[in-house]
Amino acid sequence: MAEPLLSLTDLRAGYGPTQILQGISLDVAQGERLALIGRNGVGKTTLLATIMGLTTLHGGALNWNGAPIGKLAPHRRAALGLGLVPQTRDIFKSLTVEENLIAGLRGDASIEEAYDLFPRLKERRRNGGGQLSGGEQQMLSVARTLMGRPKLLMLDEPLEGLAPVICEMLMDVFERLAGDGRTTVILVEQHAGMALGFADRGVILEAGRIVHTGDAKTLRADAATLGRYLGVGLAD
């Protein structure tokens, strides 16, 4: 079997001395679409942040194409092809929309690609990043990460607070990116239904541990499991 793109072994990590992730083991294959779901505060954001190198690692191994990257600084991981769209969006307020995109620019990407995906951003290119509405910020945040041509795209609740049309549009964009098999996607979503509809595989997190892994379509239909770990009414 081919080497997984990303492989986590008994990963334990947290913020400073507080440990949030209690031993996560997970392999992600090249081109896979993974949905990461779970209640609030179970550690989804923390897991993505740990893969990106933003947390304190307490133990376990983190491999990228077989090479350990657990000790690399975030910007080095970005250079390897990891990309994260943070839950809090983190638009650079002192930069214009266009400069935000330039900040993420790497390699041969061009900001026109971003404007093609999100024409709205083009209209507001000269605006300060801080003046965007919530949805615009989310578009910018996604587009900015795409400017780095990531091989692994980690999306942390990208649909939160977005209008349904925008959600659909974003999901389309994600479909397109994942569709060619070159971009691997990890999607964190509260709307389990939508996430599982998009993904090949679903992973459920609880209290810093993986409590379920399985085929997304099967899981989507498995009301009992969803109900147990996510509570009622999560399946959209």
Binding site: L54, A73, A78, L84, D90, F92, G148
Partner: protein
């Protein structure tokens, strides 16, 4: 009429010196957003090294100044690593405290090594004396400062507003973590920027020594002056500092020509009015 011309001339010349000695602070405090009360410390080190290089090593002024500049820049890198990096994330109060502590250490070091008396920096012939402008004379030194100031402002503007480095710097300041996720080496950017700020501080200290002479207590004596320029200009705005320095320079000079009795009150009232009207500074972002 001549008075007016004189006020403008002296005001601009003085303002340019104010700009030169505070622009380094605009970089560290304005752009990097760390309340850097130790700015004057770097300026003083620049002056002290120059003094030492001229007096003890016998170097001519340009070489001594260059050597001092390089020394301060080199010194600033480990200092940024050790002292500043941990405080970026802390609030403004710990930053005030830490940088005051650093200032104390710098003062104590210079005091220990060179004593507490004036550390003079004699200017070479070409820079001293006065040029005749017809209706009056102007110290030659001011022309050099004027030139240096213009170079610095243009250079910084291009660097910060027009280059990839500037964008990355501003990004790294806004959200260091996210900037790192985008592949920006924030540590390196901060090191470089801080070194730039320290270098500018040293340059300002050396060039401004004619008016603000160097001694061990320099950093505390002029701290308020540096801060005023940055605050009135607007945090993070190099152009703002420039405008503020000129405005303050002209106002202060005018007050001295026209009603010296009012003294420093005028300067501070002007500052209160300016900050009252524009709390974010003249060119600061709201």
């Amino acid at each position: 009429m001549t008075t007016l011309a004189s006020i403008l001339l002296d005001g601009v010349a003085y303002g340019m010196i104010l700009f030169m000695i505070s622009v380094g602070l605009t970089v560290t405090m304005g752009l990097m957003r760390v309340v850097n009360l130790a700015h004057g410390g770097f300026a003083m080190l620049g002056g002290a090294f120059t003094h030492w290089a001229m007096m003890s090593a016998g170097l001519p002024f340009p070489l001594a100044a260059l050597a001092a500049l390089i020394a301060v820049v080199i010194l600033s890198v480990p200092m940024e690593r050790v002292f500043y990096r941990p405080i970026y994330k802390m609030g403004e109060l710990p930053q005030v405290l830490a940088t005051i502590g650093i200032t104390f250490l710098m003062i104590a070091s210079v005091n220990y090594a060179m004593g507490s008396s004036l550390l003079s920096i004699p200017l070479p012939k070409v820079m001293s004396g006065a040029v005749d402008l017809g209706f009056r004379t102007l110290p030659t030194h001011r022309l050099y400062v004027l030139g240096a100031g213009v170079l610095v402002i243009v250079g910084l503007f291009v660097l910060i507003e027009r280059t990839r480095f500037g964008i990355r710097l501003r990004a790294a300041v806004d959200h260091p973590g996210t900037a790192a996720c985008l592949g920006i080496d924030t540590g390196r950017i901060f090191s470089l920027t801080f070194a730039l700020g320290a270098g500018l501080a040293a340059l300002g200290g050396i060039l401004g020594a004619e008016l603000l002479p160097i001694d061990a207590y320099y950093p505390l004596r002029y701290m308020i002056l540096f801060l005023t320029v940055v605050a009135v200009g607007g945090m993070g705005s190099v152009a703002g500092s420039f405008v503020a320095a000129l405005a303050l320079g002209i106002l202060d000079t005018a007050a001295r020509y026209l009603f010296p009795e009012v003294g420093t009150i005028f300067f501070y009232l002007a500052m209160i009015v300016m900050l009252g009207l524009r709390p974010q500074g003249l060119l600061g972002r709201a």
